[in-house]
Symmetry: C2
Subunit: 116 residues, 2 copies
DNA sequence: CCCGTACATTGACGGTTGTCAATATTCGCT
DNA sequence: AGCGAATATTGACAACCGTCAATGTACGGG
């Protein structure tokens, strides 16, 4: 009845801890890391937070430079990074560019983290 | 009775979107960014995932180098980053160093993200 | 006591990143 | 048409980051 006793082995003297369930694939890791990299900067976190806290859930660049205390090109750069990562969306009205949160983006990233 | 009408202003022709609630402080942003920076790397995400998926919730360095395909010093470096960020804990047993997830660390980071 | 094994640390090197000044672009207004 | 304001893009530079080879450290077994 005990035909396949091939399992185990490797156990005794070494470390070899087998996986109980499968881990993140290299591709999935690369993808998630890219999104997290966009979030892993204090300035960008504040920009996201300010946009989220703004009336109507949107803000233009001129609203954002003063609070973070950085030059306009730098702020534009950070906003571009956030847009490219799918966290912010950009709408141009007249001369102004309004940025707002992509609805489920933060929750999605957050979920990916918990189910690592 | 209406002695200080100095407020408002700035409203009409410009963008000036007022904040509905307060945004992340610079200090809080710096703190969260530090933790996210530790997470924002594909190799470190995979290391976390493998540790989590390992039997007993722990793994030693020799279990981790092969799956990620990097040199032992590099893996040790990444593990140190994760420990310093409070995401992993290290226990030495004999010659081996066992790494395991800090219980609520991932959930905490995840919560911080959602309540940006 | 010495050897081998598991892991950490150091030093070096190329690639990436955050920042700004300068410049370009786009749009509304007169 | 032309000007000014809001934003984007470019180029440059210093700082940081991921990686490895080489070396150091600590532990267990003969």
């Amino acid at each position: 009845m005990h035909s396949l006793e091939l399992t185990d082995v490797t156990a005794t003297d070494a470390c070899r801890a087998p996986l109980v369930r499968d881990a993140l694939s290299a591709d999935a890791a690369e993808l998630l890391a890219h999104k997290l990299k966009a979030l892993a900067d204090p300035t960008r976190l504040r920009l996201l937070s300010i946009v989220r806290a703004s009336q109507g859930g949107e803000a233009c660049v001129c609203d954002l430079t003063a609070p973070v205390g950085l030059s306009q090109p730098t702020v534009s750069h950070h906003l571009k990074v956030l847009v490219d990562a799918g966290l912010l969306s950009r709408t141009k009205r007249g001369t102004w560019a309004y940025y707002s949160l992509v609805p489920t983006a933060l929750v999605d990233a957050s979920d990916s983290l918990q189910s690592l």
